[in-house]
Subunit: 372 residues, 2 copies
């Protein structure tokens, strides 16, 4: 029988952060696509849109007027998914299977830049550094509020990822509980530290224990570039298509030179390296299909900043970002995670190694900047 070839033979890969598997069916990209195509992204946005509720000086839905901001702007979401504490206690469960857990918190919106027509991929690196500073500030502010146990920073980019306004912005949802997915990741990071000896060369987690993500990133950085999953790296950060990626061109971005629980723990040099690699990967994304590349991005880290009387075991968290982009073949054909994926297990149509190789081949000069 033929030897196993990951680009031919369907197989499953385990995501050690979530404990879930992905079905890899690489030969499937060959099938013709007759289904829904995505409308083209608007390419002629004005620098200022008088109807945009995020542009400087405009009025928002709630009636407030935006500053004439020059860099970033942060404000509370007028339609927050959670409301500030305190809230009423949980009602009695009518059956043990029907429990209610009240949640409190707050939702913030962070505008990345005053210009309506720009995105992370087209901002200068110092502008991205400014965004990282805002992320750190809100993580510290919200994470130190009474009753807040988790801060989720994320960005939905592009209409096909549910973003309702192209003005460059992200969100921050702060909650009184740790949500399902980061709770699972943190539990798996802690379990890994208990059950595995650290390798000699990888950075160590708290108390000299093994960190799953430090071990993983360290391994990936050592794989011969042409065969591996690394898209781009600098002295502090690496962007890679994880072994267990679900989305076609999914990227995990993380520091690999030392164990870093949160953005609040970055040195200023690391912050610059972070900004610069964010610029590099978003440019590559746009260049892949010559379009403004849609994705959801989220920052996973220590649930909230370290506090005096705090459980130190949350330091097992290692800062990392997930980029989940839906496009598969070109600017208008996406991967649908439906049917089998919703009912059984995520399935992907090209290997993570193939995706990484495609992203490595992309330029870091934005396609719009070369033709302007």
């Amino acid at each position: 029988m033929a030897e196993f070839d990951p680009t031919t033979h369907p197989h499953r890969r385990l995501n050690p952060l979530t404990g879930e598997r992905v079905l890899v069916s690489p030969h499937r990209t060959k099938r013709p696509w007759l289904g829904q195509t995505e409308p083209p992204q608007p390419s002629d946005l004005p620098q200022y849109d008088p109807k945009c509720y995020l542009c400087p000086g405009n009025t928002r839905a709630g009636g407030a007027k935006n500053d004439e901001y020059k860099q970033t702007m942060i404000f509370e979401n007028d339609y927050a998914a959670v409301l500030p504490p305190p809230g009423p206690a949980a009602p009695a469960a009518p059956h043990p299977l029907l429990t209610t857990e009240p949640v409190q918190g707050g939702c913030d919106v962070l505008c990345f830049h005053p210009r309506h027509d720009l995105t992370l991929a087209r901002l200068a690196v110092p502008d991205i550094e400014r965004i990282i500073e805002e992320w750190s500030a809100i993580y510290n502010k919200r994470g130190n509020q009474e009753g807040i146990e988790y801060v989720q920073i994320f960005e939905n980019k592009g209409a096909m990822m549910g973003c309702s306004n192209p003005h460059p912005h992200g969100q921050v949802w702060s909650l009184s509980d740790v949500p399902s997915l980061p709770a699972t990741e943190l539990a798996n990071l802690k379990r890994y530290a208990l059950q595995n000896a650290p390798s000699a060369s990888a950075p160590k987690g708290p108390e000299g224990k093994a960190c799953l993500l430090c071990e993983y990133a360290h391994f990936e950085v050592g794989v011969a570039e042409s065969e591996g999953r690394v898209v781009v790296k600098n002295e502090h950060f690496v962007a890679l298509v994880p072994w267990w990626a679900i989305w076609p061109f999914e990227i995990m971005l993380l520091p690999y030179a030392r164990h870093i629980p949160s953005i609040a723990d970055l040195t200023s040099e690391e912050r610059s390296a972070f900004a610069s690699i964010l610029s590099q990967i978003t440019k590559r994304y746009d260049n892949l299909f010559s379009c403004s590349f849609a994705y959801s991005m989220g920052i996973h880290q220590r649930p909230v900043p370290r506090k005096a009387a705090d459980a130190a075991d949350a330091d097992a968290a290692h800062l990392h970002l997930h980029f989940d982009p839906p496009l598969l073949r070109n600017a208008s054909v996406r991967k649908f995670l439906v049917g089998f994926e919703l009912m059984a297990e995520p399935q992907r149509d090209l290997t993570p190694e193939q995706a990484a190789s495609r992203l490595r081949a992309c330029s870091e000069v934005h396609y719009l900047d070369t033709t302007e």
Copy 2:
């Protein structure tokens, strides 16, 4: 402080089948929607489309010619996500975190009806019974094949759910392993049976033990209809919006009068009741927003039919169907499960009780049949 009100106060609900939570933010439907809208579904489909590879007598991508079928037609997918056994053994893992598990199996396509323009919602009940018989047959056939450990029957309906052909059809993926989600559900059903005493009145699982789903369905059927989550029921089956629903109008359909591990265990009377309630819920779905309602549907049950030398503990499975429909407000505004949902936890904008009440208010006469 005000008493807890599930239609006002954000809260989390636990899904005992998956162990995951959903964030319920009911006040959020009030926000204006400025984002992407879905293109209208085609409403003028011909009864026969000469270019459709699923219509009777036409030629498929692989070159085969369809029968002039009069009821249903089943064939192997020309672009299968898994390939038949045997396959090569797994390669050595380059690192303990990078394991490969080869998967084998087969993918089938089941055409529900020769008419290109119909859907489950517009088929006669006997036609739906015929589909259920086909599901049982393929579950038995594939599930008894050497090396097959799991059979997933599902339907992607509508372009927005990745369906590439409106001709009414579903899929069946049969695999050499149990995928992540059904494996988790089965583990939780088994754990529930070990850890909980059965209630006096609910049907019992194997060996007289408690079945999570029998207990749950029995409880829901007993809740006063106007307050509950039941959409419609008959003597054998109940369709409800589960307490822990993620998708706006998600439905779980299951037998509630006795413990039934799989479709192969249905009596002919139960099969008729199943066909009739499938017709009722798909009609209500279409009537909700007067459109051909998109969804992904999947059947969860015993991984494969009972075999002689078999581990009886898989009988802890209780047959149930999940319907995951994306529409939220009307025929063109969907819920996006992105950003926070992908990075942290699913979030919904109306309560399951509100969704059930809306679906109960829908007619069971299809809107196209009343105006024709």
